[in-house]
Symmetry: C2
Amino acid sequence: MVTALLLAAGAHAEHGRILLALAFVLVGAKLFGSLVERLGQPTVLGELAFGVLLGNAALLGGPSMAPLEASETFAILAEFGAILLLFEVGLESTPRDMMAVGIPATVVALVGVVAPMALGFGVGRLMLPGESWMAHAFLGAMLAATSVGITARVLQEARAIRTPSARIILGAAVIDDVLGLVVLAIIAGVIRAAGEGTALGVSGILVIVLKALGFLVGAILIGSFLSPRLFRHALALRSTGVVQALALAFCFGLAWLAAKAGLAPIVGAFAAGLVMEDVHFEDHLKRGEKPLHESLHALTGLFVPVFFVRMGLLVHVENFVKPGVIGFAVLITVAAMIGKWACGLVTPRGVSGRTVGLGMMPRGEVGLIFAGIGATLVLDGKPVVSPETYAAAVFMVVVTTMATPPLLLWSLRRDGGV
Amino acid sequence: MVTALLLAAGAHAEHGRILLALAFVLVGAKLFGSLVERLGQPTVLGELAFGVLLGNAALLGGPSMAPLEASETFAILAEFGAILLLFEVGLESTPRDMMAVGIPATVVALVGVVAPMALGFGVGRLMLPGESWMAHAFLGAMLAATSVGITARVLQEARAIRTPSARIILGAAVIDDVLGLVVLAIIAGVIRAAGEGTALGVSGILVIVLKALGFLVGAILIGSFLSPRLFRHALALRSTGVVQALALAFCFGLAWLAAKAGLAPIVGAFAAGLVMEDVHFEDHLKRGEKPLHESLHALTGLFVPVFFVRMGLLVHVENFVKPGVIGFAVLITVAAMIGKWACGLVTPRGVSGRTVGLGMMPRGEVGLIFAGIGATLVLDGKPVVSPETYAAAVFMVVVTTMATPPLLLWSLRRDGGV
């Protein structure tokens, strides 16, 4: 009976769960965000903290969040948040702005991938001497990922997104994302091939690299050409809301293409934001259309907190507060922090190395995804990432992610730009 | 390899599918909406038509939309659209406005449930003489559902939402929704009990009725009390976006509660909109918060087209264009139209009966859900709703849904209000 009613209402368990979760996330994010703001901290820290509290409520006798964590729809809504945030951030720059920081950003990104990988590999050899070099390399790759969402949000909240440091961080984080995913794909390929008793060919590696690079260059070149033409032709459409619809379609379309090229959808969303400029839809605004940033604001207001609360939700405190794990966890966390801090050593004059190093630090959900893939890869009959290593990786992700907002805000304030 | 990459990108098939679907829906809805607008038709008709085209693309050699149709996430995004639309519509009225049309709306709703049920029962006896009275009653119940989304959208597009006819239609549609779901739950209960060789007790029926009524009365009374207090206390929160976050949390929360009470989530969203008034967050606006309707506009711009395109997507043309089905289909469609047209006979003086009758006509997704439940109910070893009856029900839903926007707009224009 109840089933029939809920079905009749088009609201079986998953529909209800998502509605309730959104209501909770909206209220909780505002309460916690407001609280940390009073303490001079960025709102995003409050959202992360609310997520951690929610995710570990069962430890305090509250309800289990396991069904919400496992919900694919909730994951997609969270991803919308990340996509819309990076699109919004991309809108604040043009390809020319990014080109201007192209060389220093690439250098920073290379250091930001190589240094953590080397340190992670070293920690692996030291602490897990029984494992093969491939397991050590995978550990290194896990430390290489940068999650640009947290940093982008802090820079945005501090109104520092147009500073040279911010541009270098964003450019480097995007390049880093590309490099990190390429490295991951190569190592995972090598391990899989080893599991099958073969070796990953050079052509296989080349395909991965070319797809990723092809997407980035293609998206920016073709996108810059298409965007103004798209909006000009759209003047023929008389409906209202054309700018918002086209801009979002462009953003979602490039995010989809990025995923097809083996990259994170947020890389595509950022590229879409980069190539789209206010001047492209000037004529629409004259006709009374709402400016894009106004309509985006409402969407990010709903979905961005979902992303950060969900990121907190995925943290299982009980997993890494164990004597056997905590030492290893601290060691790889230090390696992860020093590795990214090294980025600050190669910034050009006039750009705060401290800010860049801190901005590159958070691993966020990218680190969790890397660790999750490692747990499914099998080498010599056991997973490349053991449960203990996984717990340590989660600890590293939590610390680098939660520590970044306050540290980065502090650094931006010391830079004097805020 | 590809799997690893897509996973690494957080974008396995479902994530990619949803991103691509949204990009398509946004562009397609604007193109088709703009096209029908030039023909003097409401935009929503273009969105429905685009959905039908997309859903039947496979017939023309295009790709199959089966995975998108089956996607739970896409269904939830579409439901967001309906929820946000009804919330927005509810915001344009107050409980007092609705009370003022309470008696005529209730009379219209009662006629709108009883007349189609009686006609549907009659068609069942005539065309399916071999079936039991319960199957005939279920056929009647299928014709009773009103889908307020289409009508609300047309009224909104025509800027007629504050007219007396509009208030009667909206009030009646909500009451009708409640009555329809209660009737469905009772009949489904009777059929299930018969299948088990027992009978549904009076207490079982009472619980269904009381939960539904309890929700409606409770939501409006408690909501009216809570809403101003909620926003007043929220003045303590210094973050931006508080109005939007709280209003959406209130809307999603009531939608969830409605589902828990066995009603459609959109009934809860409408109630949330009714009780919330601009004056409740006046002080927030003075602090520089965006007015609620502005932020809602961006959200409805994204999700409402998803709802209508998806509704078109679910129409499988090949199922009811069959000689054995079409006669029966036409007959129940006529019964469904006459049944709701009867609503127009009981409207008070000064309110256009034609407009009210047409406004109550669309069955939309509610009719599809009813038919779907019937297909899962078993009586004497066969489904209560046979594949042929299901196809006929889909035809009825399509015709009443697609015919409403142009007819209602024509009627509103003749009323002279537009």
